[in-house]
Subunit: 345 residues, 2 copies
DNA sequence: GAACGGATGGGTAACGTTGTTCAAACTCTG
DNA sequence: CAGAGTTTGAACAACGTTACCCATCCGTTC
């Protein structure tokens, strides 16, 4: 029953079994030039018979490992699951295996993970909403093909995939203004670092909100609570907004979880959604779609973003010197039951 | 700006810089026997000065890769995030890096992922609620240290960590019976394979339910809808239960998402929770705790399970021949607002 | 003072794969 | 049918690390 594992089959075993050189087997494995159809068949048969699988560790020492690493900041954000689905779907036909590192919150953890992936000679990296400094991202991208998702600002060393957060914020403001709202508040994720202030999606959403408000002649109504993109951030931000002299009739939360926190604070204050206050989220995560919640939210199409990231990464692995591409997708608004016309009053 | 990445620092560079042999450097890296304190310091200094990091690929060819792989069936189940937190927390002081493979639903995908991890010479595997055949699990465990989480049934080749699902189900039934319920129905995840029927948590929960009902003299009231552990499964299962002649006054859903589906179906039927029907979930995921939902659920303490799994794995990596351990944790019931006494009628 | 033994450090051969080089065996062309 | 090119497959040297073994060196013991 508990017999020790038999020695692993290596390329040498295959070569001997097929009566060819190891070089030949290697060529067949990689679809490389210089192997006749007859030899291909012979080798493939030997591989199948012996159940051979190449060792990625050994491969990594010379060539590729056929592994791409994905770094994401938060396992609990369901939007990232969509992204991941997009990545794996795009890669499913290929030989690449996706591996992710869990829990990379903060610059230090990110650095550790990126180094770990490089040390394991991964062929490419997808970095999702990284907070690391631009210098570090460039350093990483210089040593391994990299695609950065969800961070604005062009780069000459890595490709990017983003959602147009300014448009997303505009969609929300337009929708609420069309319903008749004027006092539309926003809960943002606080940002102090100047580079991130320009590049992170949360900052772009806040900018989009301000611009759209001005465009609708609501510049005087701009009202922002600066907390964080968490459930708690939404709760606290909303309490803050409700305590201000002119209470908002609509709250644009920067993320779905934030909107849920907001709804909790609103309920606690004895107010109703959307009767007294309309609420919108961002991300259109599974949470937003869930019946009893039914949150109006901005849909980013994570699958599409993920698929794009994977495509760009494979392209770059193929040619490291090609010019960088920057894909920007357009979000759409999904209207559900948390937004309505403001109370008559 | 876009200068090509400089050649990577290797152990040879460190050895030259510290004026010692590569063997010596290797010994220091691994805390191996045969290096004097003086040499340790000299080498560590050289490592720091050059910023050297060992190549995991090269290491894997001879020794360890300091990588453990985690396989989980569903990124969207938040309970697994807790598990993962437990694993990473336990491993955070060590040199091990955790990598996970996404989306392993079904036997084929599981097989692919497990092979991929073995091919990458990972030092150990944590398999979370795998559905693969026992024979395959044994094969995997024979070639790499393995801990299986959330699957009952002892093994002599791998360690296991489980939650006592029978107790969990009993807690639910007792709670509902104490409230005065007699018609307590259960929604289970359908299982046909005989081995899995004995080993999978869902089957154990159904068994626990039946036993507990009998123990309370409610054998005649046992009522099961057999669907799946999904939102849809909960919805359809509940519609089925509501259509039966004797409508249940309480529904024990096998998982939190199932309970949400159930609540949707109940609302659609014009009934209220817990006024007309009480509902309980299982897992105590973040979803259950969320205010507006506030679902009574069984808490498995995923962090603790994860920490145990990681500890067992490290122990087994240290000694592959030690006898297998099987840790079984006891769940607890978290009572919230979806359970109450049955309607008077 | 010779023989012994533990502590320390180095030499060397793997580990399993791939890129390069090279020779042999073919296939054309004039 | 000779010469030139074009396939085809093999030999071999990396890649960066670790396991194993051996050579010192020094202090102890008889």
């Amino acid at each position: 029953m508990t017999k020790p594992a038999p020695r692993r089959i290596t390329i040498v075993d295959v070569a001997r079994h097929a009566q060819v050189s190891t070089t030949a087997v290697s060529k067949v494995l990689r679809n490389a030039y210089g192997a006749s159809p007859a030899m291909r068949i012979k080798v493939q048969q030997a591989i199948a018979e012996l159940g051979y699988r190449p060792s990625a560790a050994a491969r990594g020492l010379r060539g590729q490992t056929y592994t791409v690493g994905v770094m994401l900041p938060d396992m609990r954000n369901l939007f990232f699951a969509d992204l991941l689905d997009g990545i794996t779907a795009q890669l499913s036909g290929t030989d690449y295996q996706v591996l992710l590192a869990p829990g990379c919150n903060g610059e230090k953890a990110e650095a550790r993970v990126m180094e770990a992936m490089i040390d394991r000679s991964m062929d490419g990296l997808v970095l999702i909403a990284p907070v690391s400094s631009k210098a570090r991202l460039n350093t990483v991208a210089r040593s391994v093909p990299t695609v950065v998702v969800g961070r604005h600002g062009p780069s000459t060393t890595y490709d990017t995939v983003t959602d147009d957060d300014v448009i997303g914020a505009t969609l929300v403001v337009e929708h609420l203004a069309d319903l008749g709202h004027r006092r539309i508040a926003h809960i943002e994720h606080q940002e102090t670092d100047p580079v991130r202030l320009a590049e992170m999606p949360n900052a772009q959403r806040a900018n989009g909100y301000r611009e759209a408000m001005r465009a609708r002649g609501l510049a005087d109504e701009i009202d922002i609570a600066s907390t964080s993109y968490t459930h708690e951030g939404g709760y606290l931000g909303t309490k803050e907004l409700l305590a201000r002299p002119a209470r908002p009739t609509a709250i644009f939360a920067g993320a779905d979880v934030v909107a849920l926190g907001a709804m909790e604070a609103i309920a606690e204050a004895g107010l109703s959604v959307p009767g007294d206050i309309s609420v919108t989220g961002y991300d259109n995560s599974a949470l937003a779609a869930f019946g009893p919640i039914s949150l109006t939210s901005v849909d980013q199409d994570g699958r599409q973003m993920g698929a794009n990231a994977a495509r760009l990464l494979v392209d770059r692995i193929g040619d490291r010197d090609r010019r960088t591409s920057h894909v920007k997708l357009t979000p759409s608004l999904v209207i559900r039951r948390t937004t309505a016309a403001p109370p008559a009053s």
